[in-house]
Symmetry: C2
Subunit: 236 residues, 2 copies
């Protein structure tokens, strides 16, 4: 079973019967993948709208045939406060975290984040956003998670509302159903973890430790393991 290709058209408005101009990269990708005139596609604006459409004869537009309900979006909006590590690991964390349903990534320039890694992440925000967008298309969800520029933990916490969790070795697993709220935040430290000042800050903010099993997980593995516990609601 091959799903119709998903095409991201940020800022577009979908109206049945009307044509939408595709971003050039998307049109080219469809052409290379041999989707010709009339081919069925699914349009996403990346912000919650989804529509079925057919490619125009020149492959540069798509004519909307029907609006579709959002899919792949968990009911709970989970923000990941992501301690910055090596760029490749941040990239994987964003890709995998998007697959697992994260609503937002707030990059954290943690005390133990290496400066070079923070600088790399800050200069590659557009790349990280593209990775999130590609993952949204691949995993068949509707909304592209936001990715915020690296900031210290205190500033990152200030951007977040809802119950706060922190991945901490040795802590107990989250009991399913324990989070009734529609938003939640989970902090995942960089390699070496958050430092004592940061842990204190998290404790002061009422962070509930959640365990990820009895082993030391890489950044990107920890993000997945935390999200699998926190996003336990069926996607709509």
């Amino acid at each position: 079973m091959r799903l119709p290709p998903r095409v991201l058209v940020p800022g577009a408005r979908f109206t049945a019967g009307e044509a939408v101009t595709l971003p050039e990269a998307e049109a080219r990708h469809l052409e290379v993948s041999r989707f010709g005139p009339g081919a069925e596609v699914v349009l996403l604006d990346g912000a919650g709208s989804r529509a079925g459409a057919h490619l125009s004869s020149d492959g540069r537009k798509a004519v909307v045939c029907e609006l579709l309900p959002a899919r792949g979006e968990p009911l709970r909006r989970v923000t990941v406060l992501l301690g910055v590590g090596e760029l490749s690991r941040v990239e994987w964390a964003v890709e995998k975290g998007t697959e697992c349903g994260a609503a937002r990534f707030v990059l954290v320039a943690a005390a133990r984040s290496q400066r070079a890694h923070v600088a790399a992440a800050a200069s590659k925000l557009e790349r990280l956003r593209r990775i999130a967008a590609e993952a949204v298309k691949q995993c068949d969800r509707t909304v592209v998670p936001e990715i915020l520029v690296p900031s210290p933990l205190a500033a990152g916490l200030g951007l977040c509302g809802g119950p706060l969790f922190v991945a901490r070795p040795g802590a107990p697993r989250l009991v399913p159903g324990a989070v009734p709220d529609l938003t939640a935040v989970v902090a995942v430290g960089p390699e070496g973890g958050f430092d004592p000042d940061e842990e204190h800050l998290l404790d002061e903010a009422g962070a509930v430790p959640i365990g990820l099993g009895g082993r030391i997980l890489r950044l990107e593995t920890a993000v997945i393991a935390a999200l699998v516990q926190l996003i336990d609601d069926d996607a709509r």
Copy 2:
């Protein structure tokens, strides 16, 4: 907090007061990482033995000072029947699955596995085993998971005992505590999933479908999401 380096010495026997010759690659790695004579290391035989030791003056041996209890090993031994995909994804699945506590990976040449991918995985078993060994050291567990050569699903199933699960989109999450057994098997299909014949085989074998959320997960993400649900016992 920096843990002492973990050093893998397959087949070694650890006895307090006796010296163990380190594999050349391990000795070189310690030297490059500036661990000198007398440095504290943790020796692993990869099969369940663990010992504290100190490097000898030439850095080629380590003298065992005490036997240590195993750590990082879940009580439940979970085998992953892993539908072969692109080599890079199989590598990540092995690395991440090892971090998450998998006991064994049985590679499955599934109906929808591409032949080239199966050939690549079969020819890179040693590389996959090295990746698992490195992950064991990194995540601070004790036993290196086995990795078995790709075989069709029926043959792979024949190698496994214990309750069988299959990752299937749309299925409900596993209820925590639902698996009382000390062994379990989880089948994760390749890109595109298992084909109808394979799904039938799994159903006949009594496989219980487990859901991984309402999105389409990549192979390596699915392995983590399944293991997080199946390995819910605290590591010893």
